[in-house]
Each structure stands twice: as structure tokens, then as C-alpha cells.
């Protein structure tokens, strides 16, 4: 029996630390259906970045509508926990972020690839995360060849941010999202406030085992980035103890989100 099914028998469920809501409810319903199949009891969701009006620099209005869509679905479905999406190039969105955190959103992110989330661009949002004691989920590319995309965070940037904000819980997103994951895991090894989520489309055998070996189990969060079968398959196939799988599936996220 799979571990996610054993959790169901114990009256527990999987927690997905990184997923997205769409403006299209047919896709949202597919997501709910799959969550039910795979015993996912909670999903931390933000609006899907490609649903916004400008993929490189979405407007305040579009981001606000996205967050409202998430809020609306959180009210309808108890499985969803909101993450406030922001375009960090727009300082006006700090107030927007605060509004949704006051509404009960559980964190800030996914901070997307609109520009490096460092220095002055990051400061107001990280301060807000500190004030509300919530984690920040950051889209990260894991060392792409021949070089990273302009404005996209990589694991070295995550280290810079984590050093500047040692008391903020930072989730380096989708370690399975493409790129050199071996390098990324090693780079963040000593940053105890950095967690990884295992989402993404890459299914290289060994990702989970390597993360457990280098980072230790408590810094690894289950996440699908909406590719649920692949994410569950990754954990189920990993050659690690079942109690570690349970930590990854649920318990680690509870600590990071303090939820």
C-alpha cells in the first residue's frame, strides 16, 4: 500500500505546499478531483501566473483579481489555503499583500520571475512576512545552462536572501522544476531557514534521496505545482524510510506554515 493511502487510514492527509488556482473552474475542479484521489487534505494555493494579464509584469488589477479568485475558492473549499501572489516590481502591491494576509492567507508567493527578489524589491514584502510570521515561497530556477533567465531567482540568490533575512522561512520552489537540482540542494545546505518543495515536472530518480541526505528530512516539503501524479510518484518511489515520507507529505509543512 502506498504511503499516501496509509496516511488516509490513519486519518491524516497529504499537504501540498505549492499549488495554483486558475481563473478557469474546470481546471480547478480537476485539481480538487485529483487532490481527493491522492488524499491531499490541504493545498497552499496562489493564482496561476500565466493566467494574469502580462506574463512579464502583470498589472495591479490583474494580480488583485487573481488573489480575489483564490480567496473566493478558499471560502468555498476548506482544502485550499491562500498564498498571496504579488508582482514585486510594483511597490503598491505591498498593501495588497497585507490586505490578503489579514484575510487569513498563509504566506507570500509564489514570488515569480519578474525580477530578482533581492534588495529593495524584496525588502517591503520580506518585512511583511516577518510582521505576519508567514513563509515566502519563491520561484527558483536551478542553475540553467548556459545561464539563468534574466530576472529569475536561482539557488545562489536564495542564499543571499536567506542571509539577509535569517528569521524568515523561505521556500525555494520546485526542486524538480528543471535545472541542476544537485547543485541547488548543495548551495542551500547551510541555510537553515531555507526549505525546498519537491514540485515540478522532472522525475529524475534520486532527487528526494539526495535532498534527504544533504538537507535532512525536515527541510523538504511535498508540493505538486499542480502536477500531482508525478509528485506523489516521486515520494512513493524514493528509497527512504516511511516515517520520512510522512514528514515530507505533511508534518514538515505544518511547521513551516504554523497552520
Amino acid at each position: 500500500m502506498y504511503v499516501f493511502e496509509k496516511l488516509r487510514q490513519k486519518g491524516k492527509g497529504v499537504i501540498d505546499a505549492h499549488a495554483h488556482i486558475y481563473f478557469n473552474d474546470e481546471l480547478n475542479n480537476n485539481l480538487l478531483k485529483l487532490a481527493n484521489i491522492f488524499n491531499i487534505e490541504r493545498m497552499y494555493v496562489s493564482i496561476y501566473p500565466f493566467d494574469l494579464d502580462n506574463p512579464a509584469n502583470p498589472s495591479y488589477k490583474s494580480v488583485f483579481e487573481g488573489n480575489m479568485k483564490v480567496l473566493d475558492l478558499c471560502k468555498k473549499h476548506s482544502i485550499f489555503r491562500g498564498m498571496v501572489f504579488v508582482n514585486h516590481l510594483d511597490v503598491n502591491q505591498v498593501d495588497m499583500a497585507e490586505k490578503f494576509l489579514r484575510e487569513g492567507f498563509a504566506g507570500i508567493g509564489e514570488i515569480y520571475r519578474y525580477g530578482k527578489f533581492l534588495g529593495k524589491l524584496a525588502e517591503p514584502f520580506m518585512s511583511l512576512a516577518k510582521e505576519y510570521d508567514v513563509p515566502v515561497l519563491i520561484h527558483t530556477a536551478h542553475r540553467l545552462y548556459p545561464r539563468g533567465r534574466v530576472g529569475e531567482m536561482d539557488s545562489n540568490d536564495i542564499v543571499k536572501l536567506a542571509k539577509k533575512w535569517p528569521n524568515i522561512r523561505i521556500i525555494m520552489s520546485h526542486i524538480s522544476g528543471g535545472g541542476d537540482w544537485e547543485y541547488a540542494i548543495r548551495v542551500i545546505k547551510n541555510m537553515s531557514n531555507v526549505y525546498i518543495d519537491i514540485g515540478g515536472s522532472v522525475v529524475d530518480m534520486g532527487i528526494i534521496e539526495k535532498a534527504v541526505e544533504i538537507l535532512k528530512p525536515h527541510r523538504i516539503l511535498f508540493a505538486s505545482d499542480n502536477l500531482i501524479p508525478q509528485a506523489i510518484g516521486r515520494v512513493e518511489d524514493a528509497k527512504i524510510d516511511e516515517d520520512i515520507k510522512e514528514l515530507i507529505y505533511a508534518e514538515n509543512a505544518l511547521k513551516v506554515f504554523k497552520d
Binding site: V203, D204, P229
Partner: protein
């Protein structure tokens, strides 16, 4: 269940958890597979690919003597038609191997080349299944030595498929090709007997359900399952099919029945 492409051996760019054929076989048996097709990774990188093919054959034979009732392992030979195109070698391969893998990206040739056409002709005379390998791993993590030298090109694939259509030999599988390549070549693949597989990282399951789309485009009789284990987690690939919104009958065909038809000689 049948997996039409697993590997054994060492991968030059990443340490794998399993390298010995016996360990891969054990893993796949635990995953519930009855038959696996296996190729030697080194045969994609050695100049003399036959050396690695022979190593595989030796290991398969030893293993079948040791564990006669275990999982069935069918060896696949990797072949570089651009390096050597000897009818006798293909003949020899057809006697000992279940099929041939060609890998334009790793062996550095174009699918539209004349040598590939000749290879196709020789293989067809022997009714030898041909597995055309796209990417072993996600393009974003590929080593620069390979990523930029011989990139897979959609036009090249289309030219090859046109040639295949004219030639009429269709015992061919497109393995681990990007989703978009398959969709954009669909007019050349649909209504033929060519198979496609679902192991590519960008063939998504779940919410996006690319498996359902591929079934709609190519038909449930023309899709096979490969995991590329131990490069990939088998369940992560398998779950895309098992939890897809397609019929149970279609799932059974994809994870087993179609492969039986493909490799029947």
C-alpha cells in the same frame, strides 16, 4: 505491465541509484512489471556502441540463468547509423536483441540523413522494431556538451516521418519526445502504425492530462509505456497513465498490450 525502455549502466552526467541490470530488474519487478526492455546507457556514448551492447547481452544471459522465473528482460541494442552502417552487424543484432534504439541527439546525427534512411531499410527487412530516443532527461538540466551540439529539431523529425510514411515501415516508436513535437507532428503520425511513448518530462499528467490528449490524437492502440528507469522514478511516470481520465481498457493497452504487439516478430 511492460516497460519498453529501461536502462542499465552508468550515466556520464549523474550518479544513478541503480546501475547493475540485476538491480534494475529487481526494482522493476517490485514496481509490478513482468517484462522490461533494457538498453545499456554506455552504448549511447561509446564510439563502438557494439561493445556496450555485448556487455548488456552477457549480463542478460547470466541473469536469466541465475533467476529463470523472474522478470523477463529483453535486450535492446543501441545503434549509431552515422558511425557504422554494416548490414551484417544489423543482422547479428536482430538475432540477439528485441529491437534497436537510435539516438540522434546522443550519437550526433540527423534523423533526416540518408544513412538513417538506409538503416530504416535494413531494419525493415528484418522486421526489427526501431526505438527513436529523444531526450534522456529534461532539456533544462542537460549537460552543455550535448544540449547545443545536435539539438532535436521538429523539422528534422517531420522530414523523417515523411520518409517513413513513403517507405511504409512503421514498426517505430518515438520515445521521450517533447509533447509539442508529438502534437505538431500528429498529422504525420496519426493513421500510421507508429507508436509514441509518454515518458517525456513535459508530457504532464493530472490537471493538464496530456495522456488523454495523446489518446485522442493518436488512439489508445498507438501509445506505449516507458519509464527510462533508473534515470526516472517509474511510479512518477506510471501514475500519469494510471490516474489519467482515460478508460481502463486504454490504460491496459498503454502499459502492456500495445508493447506486445509492437515487439511481436
Amino acid at each position: 505491465m511492460i516497460d519498453v525502455l529501461t536502462f542499465s549502466g552508468n550515466y556520464p552526467f549523474r550518479k544513478l541509484l541503480y546501475t547493475k541490470l540485476c538491480d534494475v530488474a529487481k526494482l522493476m519487478l517490485e514496481e509490478g512489471f513482468e517484462i522490461i526492455f533494457n538498453a545499456r546507457i554506455e552504448s549511447l556514448f561509446y564510439r563502438d556502441f557494439m561493445e556496450a551492447n555485448k556487455d548488456l547481452l552477457k549480463e542478460v544471459n547470466e541473469l536469466s540463468k541465475q533467476q529463470p522465473n523472474s522478470i523477463q528482460i529483453k535486450p535492446l541494442a543501441c545503434f549509431n547509423p552515422d558511425y557504422i552502417l554494416d548490414r551484417n552487424i544489423i543482422n547479428e543484432v536482430s538475432k540477439s536483441f528485441a529491437g534497436v534504439v537510435i539516438a540522434p541527439l546522443y550519437h550526433g546525427f540527423k534523423l533526416s540523413s540518408k544513412k538513417v534512411s538506409r538503416f530504416l531499410r535494413y531494419a525493415s527487412e528484418l522486421n526489427l522494431p526501431i526505438l527513436i530516443l529523444g531526450y534522456l532527461e529534461d532539456i533544462r538540466e542537460m549537460h552543455r556538451a550535448y544540449r547545443f551540439r545536435y539539438p532535436l529539431k521538429l523539422d528534422d523529425l517531420k522530414t523523417f516521418l515523411q520518409e517513413v510514411k513513403l517507405f511504409g515501415y512503421e514498426k517505430i516508436v518515438l520515445l521521450s519526445f517533447p509533447y509539442q513535437f508529438l502534437v505538431e507532428s500528429s498529422n504525420l503520425i496519426a493513421n500510421t502504425s507508429i507508436y509514441v511513448d509518454i515518458s517525456s518530462h513535459d508530457i504532464y499528467g493530472g490537471v493538464y492530462d496530456h495522456i488523454k490528449n495523446l489518446v485522442n490524437i493518436f488512439g489508445e492502440d498507438h501509445i506505449v509505456f516507458s519509464s527510462k528507469a533508473p534515470l526516472s522514478y517509474p511510479k512518477a511516470v506510471l501514475f500519469k497513465v494510471l490516474y489519467s481520465d482515460i478508460s481502463d481498457k486504454a490504460k491496459r493497452k498503454i502499459v502492456g498490450e500495445n508493447a506486445k504487439k509492437l515487439f511481436l516478430r
